[in-house]
């Protein structure tokens, strides 16, 4: 940190000023002039929060995606289908048991099992053949999408929000002043906050597991040099299966989360796959912090885009991707080797 400041004094100063300005934007009560220029503060804040919570969802999906890619060099294009599968399963379990937590757990476990099957039955037999693996995952995603359409129909489903998470909470940010000088505080859906916190917890746990445990060490070693790791006597296949299971399970979990605060329907699979592809390309293939950064950027871009330039919102994410590919093709948070 301090070395960065010493190396790049001007850049540090700019970052500091931008950060301070941003905090002031969030906490200060906006003057009428500012509201005229940027729209109402509530809109800005809510786009900010929505962007962050949407980023949290993207992170849940993309972290599994990037982990699998990092370790196995397998671009799993069926990842979106795993998300949708998890969502539908969560819906079924949720409406059968009435418990949201049960739905989350069931989806995680079942989709993780599906991931194990995929790895053991399919990908183990075509290791190192990138193109063939990619084609197989595309085929798999088409088959899964059709099976899900067959089972659940084309209707829109929504996983029911648990009572303790529904409704709004008040946040300590003033969005406006009443005429008597009393500040109007911002209210925000409790569910979205919970999702954000959940994603942060998952992210921190993943980071700890990767950097502080033996298994994490194996995974990191596998990312760096698979052959050398297996030469040291580690059962690499077992590590692969575990990582695939975890990555797939996360996608299933994210499906329930996405099905709760948004909704589930055919076509969601490709949409979320596209988002996670953009996320990992922006963040850097195979990097967990990269997935976090990428998810945040894409989520914020989508939300701010939909508020401030609705017609071009769809384009904005791809512009960001193009910019990153042009300037830093390995991704923002990728480790340089």
């Amino acid at each position: 940190m301090s070395s960065f400041v010493a190396r790049r004094p001007l850049a540090s100063l700019l970052i500091l000023i931008a950060g301070a300005l941003f905090l002031w934007l969030v906490f200060a009560v906006w003057t009428p002039g500012m509201e005229a220029a940027f729209g109402r503060k509530r809109v800005f804040l809510s786009a900010l929060f929505n962007g962050i919570t949407l980023g949290a969802l993207y992170f849940l999906v993309a972290s599994g995606f990037t982990l699998i890619f990092g370790l196995m060099r397998n671009v799993n294009l069926a990842h979106g289908s795993l998300y949708l599968l998890g969502g539908y399963l969560g819906f079924s379990v949720g409406s059968a048991t009435g418990s949201w937590v049960a739905a989350l757990l069931a989806s995680f476990v079942v989709v993780a099992l599906a991931g194990i099957l995929m790895q053991v039955l399919l990908f183990r037999w075509m290791e190192g053949q990138d193109l063939r693996q990619t084609l197989v995952t595309i085929g798999l995603s088409i088959v899964l999408a059709d099976l899900l359409l067959w089972g659940y129909g084309g209707d829109t489903f929504q996983v029911e929000t648990p009572a303790w998470l529904s409704g709004p909470v008040q946040l300590p940010f003033a969005v406006a002043l009443r005429s008597n000088g009393e500040a109007v505080m911002m209210t925000y859906p409790a569910l979205r906050l919970a999702i954000f916190l959940g994603a942060v917890v998952v992210g921190v746990l993943m980071w700890l597991a990767l950097n502080r445990t033996r298994v994490g060490m194996l995974v990191r070693a596998g990312v760096d040099d698979r052959d050398m790791l297996s030469a040291t006597g580690v059962r690499v296949q077992l590590v692969f299966v575990m990582v695939f299971a975890f990555g797939a399970g996360l996608a299933g979990l994210a499906g329930v989360v996405g099905g709760t605060f948004q909704s589930l329907q055919p076509g969601e699979d490709t949409k979320i796959l596209l988002s996670s592809l953009v996320v990992v390309i922006v963040g850097g293939m195979g990097s967990i912090p990269g997935a976090a950064v990428g998810a945040l950027i894409v989520g914020l871009a989508e939300q701010f885009g939909s508020v401030y330039m609705p017609t071009y919102a769809v384009m904005l994410t791809f512009l960001i991707m193009v910019a990153v590919l042009a300037v830093r093709p390995q991704g923002l948070a990728a480790v340089r080797r």
Binding site: S46, A47, F49, P189, S263, Q265, P266, S306
Partner: protein, 418 residues
């Protein structure tokens, strides 16, 4: 001699058999409905409407067995085009019932011009342009368009409900444009004010920012959403704890939304709206149709009462049947006689009398309704009043209507009349 006789008899029998075979040849009828995407639940109910009408006809029209071929779409114009091409080129149908959604209708109007021997009878799509701009001689619409379904609603919410300033949230395609136009024409002329219009893409998942962007000082919010989008919006709106009053577009407060799962739809109780049907209308013909609908499918495979889509598809099928019977099921001339008969059909439909104007666009009844909760917890559209014989120009002279222009994100403007 006897051998000749036998041969003659045999060939005679053969001829009879052959002509019988022609008579027995199935009448193929194509249909398109939205069976994927945001409007899926509406498409499914449209198909139900068709199935009921087909069953009621005993699977036969003019003595010919009917084969119904359904092609799914996802509410996008290109999916409708693909479906129609498949029906015409692969299944060789001469009649298509469909499509369901606004922009699909415009696409099929253009397509119908390239296949003059195919007759397209609109399923439920309601964009103004489909029959108003460059109307096609083989595109028929037996339902009102989105603007006609809003006739009288603007005056009603302003005078009876006292909503003087409103904001609009609607999907970004032709049908909601048309709905907002129909609403705004009445509402703004009566002195109401639309302070904001937000257009969201069809299939929007995340309404968080749209909801935050709503102004505080409006009396109500006009919602021009449908199917999955409507349910999504209501869920997320209830998550933010908002308390605005709503005005519903025709498919916002339809059974496709009122029958959805979850508690968020309760936000709609008390919402005024208007459209082509009113769930709780007490006309005998309507009640008969509701009963038929409810008896045709088990309770978990249908809505509490037929949606706008089921009713429109049912009417479209019956109009087709009437005309086909008049020409004896004969489409051998490319359907010319059939279309001439179809243009003259006057339907005594469950939702009021329907006849066509010169553009083959329906002149029909609009119902002003209000969402109410039944004792058993189901939501229904309480009947408020009818606006009979609504024409496509909404009672304006053709010139005055033309001067308004076509519906778009910004048209018509809503200037307060001072």
């Amino acid at each position: 001699m006897s051998r000749v006789l036998k041969a003659a008899l045999a060939s005679c029998c053969f001829l009879v058999a052959a002509s019988a075979a022609i008579a027995q040849e199935k009448l193929k009828i194509g249909a398109t409905a939205t069976l994927a995407g945001a409007l899926t639940s509406g498409g499914e109910d449209g198909v139900r409407g068709l199935q009921i009408a087909l069953k009621q006809a005993g699977n036969k029209i003019a003595g010919r067995e009917v084969e119904l071929i359904i092609a799914p779409t996802d509410a996008s114009p290109d999916s409708a085009l693909r479906a129609a091409r498949k029906l015409v080129e692969q299944d060789r149908v001469q009649i298509i019932v469909g499509p369901l959604s606004g922009s699909e209708g415009i696409a099929l109007r253009d397509y119908s011009k390239t296949v003059p021997n195919v007759t397209i009878i609109n399923g439920s799509s309601g964009a103004l342009e489909a029959t108003y701009v460059n109307p096609s001689p083989n595109f028929f619409r037996f339902n009102s368009d989105g603007a006609m379904w809003m006739a009288g609603l603007g005056e009603y919410v302003l005078k009876d409900k006292g909503y003087k300033k409103i904001a609009v949230i609607a999907e970004d395609y032709s049908f909601p444009y048309t709905q907002v136009m129909g609403f705004a024409l009445g509402y703004c002329r009566a002195g109401g004010q639309i302070v904001q219009r937000q257009w969201v893409p069809l299939g929007t998942k995340d309404f968080g920012s749209v909801i935050a962007n709503l102004p505080d000082d409006v009396d109500a919010v006009f919602l021009g959403l449908g199917g999955g989008d409507a349910v999504n919006f209501l869920n997320q709106y209830s998550q933010t704890g908002g308390k605005a009053k709503f005005i519903g577009g025709s498919i916002m407060v339809d059974q496709t939304v009122l029958s959805s799962r979850g508690a968020a739809k309760r936000l709609l109780v008390g919402t005024p709206s208007s459209g082509g049907v009113a769930d709780a209308w007490d006309s005998p013909k309507w009640k008969e149709w509701v009963k038929l609908y409810q008896e045709s499918f088990p309770a978990d495979k249908r809505f509490a009462s037929p949606s706008l889509f089921a009713t429109n598809y049912y009417n479209a099928f019956n109009a087709m049947k009437t005309a086909l019977e008049q020409v004896g099921g004969d489409l051998s001339d490319g359907g010319g006689k059939f279309r001439a008969a179809l243009a003259k059909v006057e339907l005594d439909a469950p939702n009021g009398k329907i006849r066509l104007d010169d553009n083959r666009q329906a002149i029909a009844t609009t119902f002003i309704t209000e969402v109410a909760e039944l004792p058993n917890g189901e939501l229904t559209n309480k009947f408020v009043r009818t606006v009979p014989d609504v024409t496509q120009t909404l009672g304006l002279s053709p010139e005055a209507f033309k001067a308004v222009g076509l519906p778009s994100r910004t048209n018509p403007e809503c200037k307060p009349t001072s």
